[in-house]
């Protein structure tokens, strides 16, 4: 997999901590591999919206990658509940269903961004950098960014 300049937290220079939420084990593994190539650390995984909420409370990750279509509770509702409890939560929706109405609903309920599956690593990398900008995260190695 392509190598990217690590995106780290500006405060303590530690890896960005991720919670990955998707009902597909395969999708979770692929996303985990991707964020690890960005220098990130996967601190937790969840297969549905209900578990995502409890895992967020327990782990307070820097970023949540959240699928939409899931059993028990869908991703948009889970995102709304997490942001309701944690207004600073950074949630990026990752779904194969990317119609306008869905994207607008996700953003209105607190998601920071939306990326459509199949996910291109270079696209997700740029979104992660954008979403972490309020943490003033910067790549640690110049010249080795997306597409490098």
């Amino acid at each position: 997999m392509e190598q990217f300049a690590p995106v780290k937290r500006s405060g303590d220079n530690q890896p960005v901590r991720y919670l990955i939420v998707d009902d597909s084990v395969f999708a979770r593994k692929n996303l985990a591999k991707m964020v690890e190539s960005f220098g990130g650390q996967v601190v937790g995984e969840a297969g549905d919206g209900v578990t995502a909420i409890t895992e967020y409370d327990r782990l307070t990750p820097d970023i949540v990658l959240m699928d939409i279509t899931m059993p028990q509770m869908e991703g948009i509702e889970a995102a709304e509940k997490i942001v309701g409890q944690h207004p600073g939560a950074r949630i990026v929706m990752v779904s194969s269903v990317g119609y306008q109405e869905n994207i607008v609903a996700a953003l209105q309920r607190g998601a920071r961004h939306f990326v459509q599956k199949p996910v291109k690593p270079e696209v997700l990398y740029e979104i992660i950098k954008y979403v972490m900008r309020d943490d003033q995260a910067t790549p640690q190695t110049a010249g080795a960014g997306a597409g490098a």
Partner: protein
Amino acid sequence: MELIQPFLNSADAVLAQGLESSVAIENLTMDEEAYRRKGIAAEVCLTGDIEGRIIFDAGEKTAACFASHLAGAELASTDDLVREAVCELANQVIGNAVTVLNDQGFHFRVHPPTIHTSEQGAKSSEDTEAVVLCFSTERGKVYMNVALRYHHCSLEHAAAGR
């Protein structure tokens, strides 16, 4: 056919990207007999303006080859991850097609994919188009059995939205 075209386009794009392979539509047939599963199959149900289900199917060796490529590691066809990979590919192909149809004014709900274990699927009926699409990739063939029908109460609404 207007319902089928987005699935053709989506399968072409998603399979080409995910499998890093050229993709050719080998065959498109109306399914007059009940569909027979080829190997490892995922089923996705749609509800809304258009209702029905789609079976995404690949032979066991082909499915293992797809999953191994996507996972970046050799997987046996008996590995649960192969089933997961077929479900995820189905989710991506169907999700992308549904995105196009929703933006055209139809409104759907897509349900999470499940492993389709039955040997047979639905065939065409008066109000249900059951079409079998066969895609040829460098890593093997993929079959999609698309059985959809208009939800009559929603047709005017969908047409008005376009």
